[in-house]
Amino acid sequence: MIRRYFAALDIPLLFLILIIILIGIITLFSASSGSLTLIGSQLNNVLIGLLLLIFLANNHLQKIIYYAPYLYAFGLIALILVNVVGFTSHGAQRWINLGFVNFQPSELMKIALPLFISWIYHHQKNKNTYKIHFLAMFAIFLPCFLIIKQPDLGTAIMISFSGLIIIFLAGLSWRFILGSLFIGLVSIPIIWSSLYTYQQNRVLTLLAPFKDPLGSGYHTIQSMIAIGSGGSFGKGWANGTQANLSFLPETTTDFIFAVYAEEFGFIGILFIFILYFLALYRIFYLATKMQNTFSRLVTISLGIAIFINIIVNIGMISGIMPIVGIPLPFFSYGGTSMVVSLASIGIIMGLYSNKTLIAN
């Protein structure tokens, strides 16, 4: 019985991700100055995430395709609700209090949107019509607009990116892509002027962090100091001065990787990068083995979402991307991120294990 549940899991991918989670928890111990409460809470998050993963991996694909539009609609409604009844934290209105957990609709949209876009393409026989492409783009635009309103620019960019990847994979013509890129570049000044001042500041800070070392550049500088001072082999576990003497902000969530870099050095970073690379590779490999468009599109889209999380988070802490509050998948402390990331993997595994079913 139990064995049957595990048969659906892709062991290499699960193994890679569990190692990353383990390293994350080890780092969390140091980053939280040994807070067992936080460790326990994170273990709880992992447990919920894994259960969800196993559940999704064993689910029938048709059900997912069937639920995709409803999930998307639900996500949209939740996003509208968040703008009305959501509560504000850290200057952004992102959460809805469900009583037992604080729910962040934009996180749900990370999965719902790729599913829905893939669903659109899956149900169209003549995939290359511009009408479909525009429909897909509108489906991306709606939630992104609501998320930007929260405001949460980072998440909006990520979600739109994972959606656009699907459109790209679905066969959008190169001419159209290059044209949009051109329009995008031209419209940068317009987008710039529509950004909030703090968002503009973040971008500026990125360009010249040392200009205002105690102001908006402070977090970036402290994070770069933490990473740089780690050197080749790091300062040793729980010995990071930047982390333990509270020079680093948000050590358990957004900046946890800086703690890791400080304590384990470049060797540690190399190790984690290999793990992430292999995990992503495995996801792409699984995608190529899938028989139908929907599965492939969803898998790649979810893989790309994880990938973007990694790039944006590490790019942010190493000072080459603006500071946007995005956690590192499988690594940062936090329930939503962990559960959603593991759920994504569960969906991928579910799509893979049911590939034969689709083929028929």
């Binding site: 100091i225 001065t241 930047q242 003497l245 470049f266």
Partner: protein, 602 residues
């Protein structure tokens, strides 16, 4: 195909990130390692204790006591008024304190914090500490405050310390010793505090601490304790010093008492004086103006910087110059009728005594301070030969005593006058130079040294005030001040001059009353120096002149004559007649010192 493009993009991005991290962690490691240490590791300098200054009898002249000050961080932008009001119930800050704080910040150099309230009481400290979280800009600093137990007494020789100002910083940088002053707020500014600064300052230590982002100390990584400055002892005898100062009875002037055998300065008086404590925490502008604007200039170290016409105290040295050039050798004598006329008849100079002194030889000329004798002597001897001898006694040049700001006095001559006034030298000026009334200017220390050289011609010591440095292995007590060439020869000429000086304190001498009731024999010379030249037909009337135009009274002496133990030079500004005003002051010092010496030898 498109899948491969996307994965290629993924791999490329990961590689870029990896390169970025490689750059930060490997290429720029040194930079960030340094920044990380700068973040979390702070070096706190531990200033050394300043050496204690003792007198020759281990009386404390300058010491330190522990004091607590409330200090305001100069980097924080705060509203002082607000802080003041918030502090009202804990430590009262007056407007005066605030003005003083601002003034100090402007004038002196501070590292991080500057004091706003001094000498906190235990109650104030306790109250403040319990409320400290409200005042991140304020802190209590513990430090040593310089204390001068004698107050005004001996202020010029001990000197004072002051807050380090911007110029001091510049100088310390030039000397490449700024590192020795980390955490130190004060530096010697005058007297011994200045001259022996390098010995008594000490070497700072430091504390290496780890701090967190709130600058709270996490742990101490390393402590290198400071090395205290060395304690030093001075040659002066503070009791003798006090006797001498009291003897001045508020008059202005200077006294130097020197041991002619080894150059040790036993008393060093410059009156009026000041309280060195005024400087300790940065002198207030009002106090500073007060000290400087006073007509009697209390800050002036008259011993080294006071320039006085020597008057008749120069006569013994002038006499020696004549003898060395075979002029006026006894038994040569003149008939003094009370005046001297220049050989060319151009001018007549009067003796101080109307009607003159009758038959006068060189010895008697010193004893009765016969002006007539010296007018003729000077004119015949000439300035070059006179100055040559005077220079050997130390006039016209610095004595190189171990205190700064010494002036070299003046031995005037033809060239000097040409350069200074663009005027020729008149022979009449030679005549008055011979009685110490010309352009010649001396400092009290020069006069004392010259007297010591008369008493002990073979002296090879500079005058000095440092007796010993604590924990210095060299036990040669006489090391300090050693090293000047013997410039005066013991000769029969000297005996004649000394005989004249011994007779000064005997019946018929200008200070005969000084010699009475003394248990020892003293050789002396009185002097009265005019402060301004009387016009023709104007007579000197001490009663009618304003104080600051009255004559300076001078007196030089050594005793006992058989085996000189002390040489003294006294100048009382506007004191009138030398023998009657300056002489008794010297007498008191001799009495006190020699009686003790005699007792010691018994």
């Amino acid at each position: 195909m498109r899948l491969k493009i996307i994965f290629g993009f993924v791999a490329f991005c990961l590689l870029l990130l990896l390169i970025r991290l490689f750059y930060l962690q490997i290429i720029q490691y040194d930079l960030y390692h340094g920044l990380s240490n700068k973040n979390s590791i702070k070096i706190v300098p531990l200033p050394p204790n300043r050496g204690i200054i003792f007198d020759r009898n281990q009386e404390i002249l300058a010491q330190n006591y522990l004091s607590y000050t409330l200090e305001l961080n100069k980097h924080t932008k705060i509203n002082i008024e607000e802080t003041k009001n918030k502090l009202a119930n804990i430590i009262e800050i007056t407007n005066n304190d605030i003005n003083n704080y601002k003034e100090q910040l402007r004038k002196y150099h501070f590292y991080d914090t500057a004091p706003i309230k001094f000498n906190l009481s235990l109650v104030q400290i306790t109250k403040f500490i319990s409320q400290q979280h409200q005042f991140p800009e304020l802190s209590i600093k513990q430090g040593f405050v310089r204390h001068y137990p004698l107050g005004h007494s001996s202020a010029h020789i001990i000197g004072y310390i002051n807050r380090i100002n911007h110029q001091d910083i510049k100088k310390l940088k030039q000397r490449k010793v700024l590192g020795r002053y980390l955490g130190t707020n004060h530096i010697g500014k005058s007297g011994v505090e200045l001259y022996y600064e390098d010995i008594i300052h000490g070497t700072p230590g430091y504390k290496k601490i780890e701090v967190d982002a709130d600058q709270e100390i996490v742990r101490v990584l390393k402590i290198v304790p400071p090395i205290s400055g060395k304690n030093i002892s001075l040659t002066i005898d503070s009791k003798l010093q006090k006797i001498a100062e009291d003897a001045f009875k508020k008059r202005k002037g200077a006294l130097v008492a020197i041991n002619p055998n080894n150059g040790e300065i036993l008393a060093y008086v410059s009156q009026p004086t000041f309280n060195p404590r005024l400087f300790t925490n940065g002198i207030k502008q009002t106090d500073w103006d007060n000290l400087n604007n006073k007509l009697n200039k209390p800050l002036l170290d008259r011993v080294l910087s006071g320039l006085y016409p020597p008057g008749s105290t120069l006569k013994p040295f002038v006499a020696l110059a004549a003898l060395e050039n075979n002029i006026r050798t006894p038994p040569f004598s003149i008939q003094d009728h009370g005046s001297y006329t220049m050989p060319n008849g151009s001018k007549t100079f009067n003796d101080w005594k109307e009607g003159g002194h009758g038959t006068v030889d060189l010895i008697k000329a010193i004893t009765v301070s016969c002006d007539t004798f010296f007018y003729g002597l000077g004119v015949e001897l000439g300035i070059p030969k006179l100055n040559k001898t005077l220079r050997r006694f130390g006039f016209g040049k610095k004595t190189q005593i171990d205190i700064h700001n010494e002036r070299s006095g003046l031995l005037a001559n033809e060239y000097w006058k040409k350069k200074r006034f663009n005027q020729p030298w008149y022979q009449g000026e030679t005549a008055i130079t011979a009685i110490g009334q010309g352009f010649t200017l001396v400092t009290p220390i020069q006069l004392a040294l010259a007297t010591a050289k008369l008493a002990k011609p073979d002296i090879t010591f500079k005058p000095h005030v440092l007796l010993s440095i604590e924990n210095t292995i060299d036990t040669n007590q006489n090391k300090y001040g050693k090293g000047i060439a013997n410039t005066v020869e013991n000769s029969k000429y000297l005996d004649w001059v000394k005989e004249g000086m011994q007779n000064v304190t005997r019946d018929g001498g200008t200070a005969a009353f000084i010699g009475k009731n003394a248990n020892y024999k003293m050789a002396a010379k009185t002097g009265t120096a005019q402060v301004f030249g009387l016009k023709k037909n104007q007579s000197y009337d001490e009663q009618s002149l304003p104080d600051h135009l009255k004559d300076h009274a001078l007196f030089i002496a050594y005793a006992p004559i058989e085996n000189p133990k002390l040489a003294i030079a006294v100048i009382v500004e506007n004191g009138g007649h030398g023998g009657s005003i300056a002489g008794p002051i010297a007498k008191k010092v001799f009495d006190a010192y020699l009686e003790k010496e005699i007792r010691k030898n018994d």
